[in-house]
């Protein structure tokens, strides 16, 4: 049971990390928390399921399309709602925080309500990526679909981390994250980087939603808990730290499952909060957080 739950926790954690990675990238570059992150996940899940079920789009096309839908939403949100404000606020960090929290939280409620109006409150199960007999891993049966989903998630997770560290694209993002104005002086198009980061984050969350849609049938309000978990993870990993998001995600997945066995299954979703409190007490900058230069 223990080893099964560890394996299962790591699998769940991978998907948490996929969501948290985008969130922490947004924070790194824009210094804001996207409170509509769970809805990117929801949109991804619905795009995948509806394209497949209602329009008959094959899976190989529906999955990328879901990612594109999430990325497009991220792009639009950044351009329409986020950009104008940090452009005009300049140095006044506080005003930007205020606006970002209000707008993204409102957006979250809006997207849930709009989706409920459009497709109804139903939940829809997504199709499997591949069918086949399950494999036995550490006492739990893992279906080929789950393995494929896990593989894709890991690929995107590690791929994004790799690109962040070694590509020009990633270097630009990290430059903006470290010092926005210095990056701008050095010729980095800060606005473009911000848009790209938001779109990437939207795409990653949407991918998580699509990949999990077979296990967790998406409904319009499906994003709330994955989002709350990614908030816990980014604090755990250190705000703005991509590696922290990965480790934090895996850690939360495992801790939740351990809590489910040893404490109580019913309160599984609450262990994240306990963890959050512990982090804030012991290591407020998170596992991989850096002290930031002030003033």
């Amino acid at each position: 049971m223990l080893s099964s739950m560890l394996v299962s926790g790591l699998i769940t954690g991978t998907f948490y990390a996929l969501m948290a990675l985008g969130l922490t990238m947004i924070f790194g570059v824009l210094r804001i928390v996207n409170f509509a992150h769970g809805e990117f996940y929801m949109i991804g899940g619905f795009a995948y399921v509806l394209l497949y079920h209602s329009l008959g789009v094959p899976i190989v096309a529906a999955l990328p399309a879901a990612v594109v839908a999430g990325a497009a939403l991220g792009w639009v949100v950044e351009r329409l709602l986020i950009r104008p404000v940090y452009a005009e606020m300049g140095a006044r960090q506080q005003g930007r925080d205020e606006y970002a929290i209000i707008v993204t939280f409102a957006l979250s409620i809006l997207l849930i309500a709009a989706m409920t109006k459009i497709v109804g409150p139903w939940s829809l199960q997504g199709p499997r990526l591949i069918d086949g007999p399950p494999l036995l891993i550490a006492g739990i049966r893992v279906s080929p679909h789950q393995l494929a989903a896990l593989g894709i998630a890991l690929f995107f997770l590690l791929g994004t981390l790799y690109l962040l560290n070694y590509s020009l694209w990633g270097r630009q993002i990290r430059a903006v994250a470290q010092n926005r104005s210095a990056a701008a002086v050095m010729g980095v198009d800060v606005g473009k980087v911000s848009t790209i980061v938001f779109a990437t984050a939207g795409g990653l969350a949407a991918l998580a939603g699509a990949l999990l849609s077979n296990m967790i049938s998406p409904s319009p309000d499906v994003g709330a808990f994955p989002a709350i978990k990614s908030y816990v993870i980014i604090v755990l990993g250190g705000l703005g730290s991509p590696l922290g998001a990965l480790i934090g995600g895996l850690l939360l997945g495992v801790i939740e499952n351990l809590g489910a066995i040893y404490i109580s299954f019913s309160y599984r979703d609450t262990y994240g909060l306990v963890l959050l409190v512990v982090i804030l007490l012991v290591r407020p900058n998170g596992l991989f957080g850096e002290m930031r230069r002030e003033v």
Partner: protein, 410 residues
């Protein structure tokens, strides 16, 4: 000084606006020309909207149908639909609003136990009858409110049927999964009680699950370790779907060693097969309706009209809602009145052939008070993926005995 004056003007303007808003309030001018029936049901989350829609469709269909034929006592039937969101506060405020603002003389349509429970006090306080469509919880009956009637399912009935089936299957070890709602808890209690009394040979374990959870793997592994003959689930959608899928994915149930028995009424949801693929094949289900039921003429007619109008088969909730409204109309006819007190009195004496059978209300205080005791039910089995209810194997006819001959191993 100038600005102070302007401020006063602004104040006057604000007050005028506020008054205008109240003056234009959409208050239901109570008309003697119509029979106003309050419908409190789930139109928006967090409650299960699918249920609300099925209830509303049936009620609107019957209202139109009866109005075509001249209505009741020469009055047109008017449904005043309000959204209780399936929440407790929603249930209470909607009931209060329907009675005090819209001046309805009777309320129906409630699709969840907590909403009915929340409206008990209101019904008693204003003396307005409530005909409950889908509140299963025992508390609704044991409260003994004379204005509240239940022609729908109730806890004991579901459990009696389930335990009958478990005994007939010759099970030795049963695992039950219930959700953390009032219905879930009371069903769980009733289940262990009945199994202890009627089938002490059956080893029984159960678990209460969070309906909002998205991953039940720890529980599934626990069930796997127990190796029961039958897994019984009362979880409603979408939690029930997730549990079923995970049981299936882990190879726990339905398998040739372990049957799966669904008693939460999920199987007639329109999205059932959209969420359950292989997990549905071989599953046993308890239902309050089955297309192969021997329906009375009015039930056949209702079904025909429903399919014509909505292009889908009516589910059990639609039948339950239909019977609730028919019972109200019947009471109005017998009372020759649409006043609340007269309706309550007439409802208590109901003896009416509804869409699924002869409806009467029990007078014994306790878990069957004001309840249609003999509310019909079916036990059936899915034998293929995407199978329509019509094609499933019916193991128990509406009022017939349980016959497991047709059962197949998954």
């Amino acid at each position: 000084m100038l600005s102070r004056l302007s401020r006063l003007k602004r104040l006057a303007f604000t007050s005028a606006m506020a008054l205008a808003i109240f003056a234009n309030a959409p208050n239901g001018a109570h008309s003697q020309e119509t029979f106003d029936i309050g419908v409190s049901t789930i139109l928006t989350p967090p409650g299960s909207v699918i249920q609300g829609i099925q209830v509303r469709q049936a009620l609107e269909l019957i209202a139109d149908w009866q109005n075509e034929q001249g209505g009741v006592l020469g009055k047109k039937i008017k449904l005043v639909v309000a959204d209780d969101q399936g929440t407790t506060e929603g249930g209470r405020t909607v009931a209060e609003r329907l009675i005090t603002r819209d001046k309805v003389s009777v309320i129906t349509g409630q699709a969840s136990s907590n909403v009915v429970l929340a409206s008990l006090e209101v019904a008693k306080k204003y003396g307005v009858p409530v005909v409950n469509v889908n509140g299963w919880a025992s508390g609704i009956r044991t409260a003994g409110v004379p204005q509240v009637f239940s022609p729908g399912p109730y806890t004991t009935r579901v459990i009696t049927a389930t335990v009958d089936t478990l005994i007939a299957l010759g099970s030795k070890k049963v695992f039950g999964a219930f959700d953390n709602t009032d219905a879930g808890f009371s069903l769980e209690k009733e289940m262990s009680k009945q199994l202890k009394e009627r089938a002490p040979q059956i080893q029984y374990k159960s678990v209460i699950l969070d309906r909002a959870a998205k991953d039940y793997l720890p529980v599934v592994l626990q069930i796997q370790a127990e190796k029961p003959d039958v897994v019984v689930s009362e979880l409603i959608a979408p939690a029930g779907y997730i549990l079923m899928n995970q049981l299936y994915d882990q190879g726990v149930a339905p398998t040739k060693d372990t049957m799966f028995f669904e008693m939460g009424g999920m199987t007639d949801n329109p999205d059932f097969w959209k969420n359950i693929r292989g997990a549905g094949k071989g599953a046993l289900a308890f239902g309050h309706y089955h297309p192969k039921f021997d329906l009375p003429a009015i039930g056949v007619e209702f079904r025909k009209r429903f399919v014509e109008r909505y292009k889908v088969e009516p589910g059990r909730l639609s039948f339950q809602a239909a019977d609730a409204l028919f019972v109200i109309l019947d009471a109005a006819k017998r009372a020759n009145s649409t006043e609340s007190a007269a309706l309550t009195e007439a409802l208590a004496k109901t003896d009416y052939l509804g869409t699924r059978g002869q409806i009467t209300f029990d007078k014994t205080p306790g878990p069957t008070f004001n309840q249609w005791v003999e509310v019909p039910y079916a036990i059936f089995q899915f034998t293929a993926v995407d199978q329509k209810l019509d094609d499933t194997t019916l193991l128990k006819q509406s009022n017939g005995p349980l016959d497991l001959k047709g059962i197949v191993a998954p």
